[in-house]
Symmetry: none
Subunit: 201 residues, 4 copies
DNA sequence: AATGAATGAGTCTTCATTCAT
DNA sequence: TATGAATGAAGACTCATTCAT
């Protein structure tokens, strides 16, 4: 059933989505403060009041983007946990696969990632959540006898988060490296370090 | 005969320093945009024009803080390089000592660090510079036969920067860990990884 | 069906024009610096941001007024040249008619004239342009045999400009004299001087 | 009797004069508003409070310069009148000599002239005074039978002022012409006009 | 669903001027 | 005579947001 009488092929939902998409790009590129509502609507070719039909405020729109990022990321991680746990056989592959999932998501959603992981105030919270998840996993593994128990798992977990965020920002979002390659190198680094004599033997 | 009891604020250099100190704290806590000149002067108990006696603009003051951070950091790193290089004997200690210097500086200048490493636009540049320095060192060591040459040193360098920044932000600046402990753990992690059972065997 | 009774100020073009008109009067009466944006908007009964909807800056608005003056004046002079040139018969009338056009324009646009001819920095440029135009005309006439060639035409041209500006300011803009009368007297003065014995004979 | 213990060879009167001189140049070059007290004292190598030891305000200093100009100019004109009046023999020379005096004064005091004749609000008044003086002279001459009585002497007087101001600004202050030459040409122009048939006969 | 027009509440910055010494 | 330090009072400009249609 065709809708009729719509103007210029746009309807409400489309306008909303358009604003959201443009805003994401702008926020990602210029940050929250530097992004003006007037810039967003100019690019979307609507007027400022239209913006306020769809979003309560600039802040609310931004929050929506952050929430979207956070939710997707949390889902991703939960799914990862479900999928693993079965086969403890290859621990390294399990970890690698988790990282790969995350990096793939990041690479596919660069603006959202920039916003939720680097721009939002909330980014600190989000990363803290990830770090805690990692820490729990580590503790778990250690209790099962894997890994060197000399480490402070909090530190290791935060370190991994640090590596993830830095490489995401400098390599992944710039498409200088593929998610898979990235995941491989990080796993290698964290499991064996750079003075990996073992391999030489 | 030293003058005493001079009325507070009647010394220009003091006023300048006071403003600088307050501004650093404000910028560190609230970011550049959220920090208002009016807030700074209110805390310093001077009027707005006084601010402009000592600083050309809010931006100029901020830049002065960033420059100060950058300069000190660069000096630190240069000095580190001079001091090392002599004794290749204990590579791990050399690295550890570099990290310790950096973390000590960060811990002693938390606001400046927050600004120059996390708030300034320039932070990206600064970290890039550090990463490049690390990469060169790594390449150097590898050419001397140290380390596993299977790694992309760019990635490792960026990873180390990521770890440094994350742990600085979440542990060091919050005084949850001592510089020395932090340096130790990082070196351990990067050299041998977490699965370093084999060495124990 | 024409809309009537639209609420005052609800038309952008009107608001713009209103601001422009008020600004012209203010600038003319008080000069550039003494005229505050806040004065202008107060008189226009709009708020300051409204001012910036229509003009990029106080300076831009001022420049718009100056440009308008300059453009109209240039057009006027070009037209004058086209219209003359045909009938060399009555030179004095040709000159008079040019002056009359200018004075009429000035009298009809007193604020714009005050601004573009007396207040703007650019006024010097504008007058220089006029002086050059006059000089070229004079040289032309002299080459055709009119006029006493003992004069430095640059001086004469500048003199004429000086007379125009002074009488405009002190007589014309105060409506103390009519354009036509003014043009007549100036032509008389410049052609024959005040010791015009010849005519008495 | 030599004064002793004076610092750096400067005393109050000297400082005052220095400020006055520098201020004159600054006002002349940049106008009243654009000239900052801070600029003046910077050039004079004194501090702002020193400025206020010698002058009540920026305005007062400016006024002092204007007054100086006005007074000197008035004196000049009065003297001119005394000197003439005696010898009606050569009217043209009398006028020329008055103009010469004025132009010489202007040329010798370019900054003061720029200020008092072109920058001060009061300039209008000053010129009006001159115009009135000229008018009276003209009326006088006419009553004695000189000059064509067809002219409105107010207009002629204002015209002469217009010529004086314009040529002063564009030629004299730029040293593009000598006072004498200028006076000659103006007298010639005003007495006989440019269509000086008489000479041709 | 959308807009033309307008605004409240800031925010940085400037400058003549004065205080205490 | 002179100054180091500070300020009162203002002015240009910005931006998220809303009103009336």
């Amino acid at each position: 059933m065709a809708r009729r009488g719509r103007k210029k092929g746009s309807n409400g939902e489309e306008s909303r989505l358009l604003l959201l998409t443009i805003a994401a790009e702008e926020f990602a590129k210029k940050g929250y403060q530097q992004t003006k509502v007037s810039d967003i609507v100019k690019q979307a070719k609507v007027t400022q009041p239209t913006f306020y039909i769809y979003f309560q405020s600039k802040e609310a729109l931004f929050q929506e983007l952050v929430d979207s990022f956070r939710t997707q990321l949390v889902n991703l991680v939960s799914k990862s946990r479900l999928e693993s746990g079965l086969d403890d056989a290859d621990l390294s592959n399990t970890i690698k696969s988790s990282l790969l999932n995350i990096f793939t998501f990041f690479a596919e959603n660069p603006y959202l990632t920039k916003i939720g992981f680097f721009i939002a105030q909330e980014a600190g919270d989000i990363k803290k959540g990830i770090a805690e998840g990692i820490k729990e996993n580590l503790d778990d593994e250690i209790s099962k006898g894997y890994f060197n128990s000399n480490f402070d798992t909090k530190i290791v977990a935060e370190s991994l988060v640090g590596v993830i965020e830095r490489l995401t920002l400098t390599k992944l979002l710039d498409r200088l490296i593929q998610p898979e390659n990235l995941a491989n190198q990080i796993v290698q680094l964290f499991l064996y370090g750079i003075e990996n004599k073992k391999r030489i033997e």
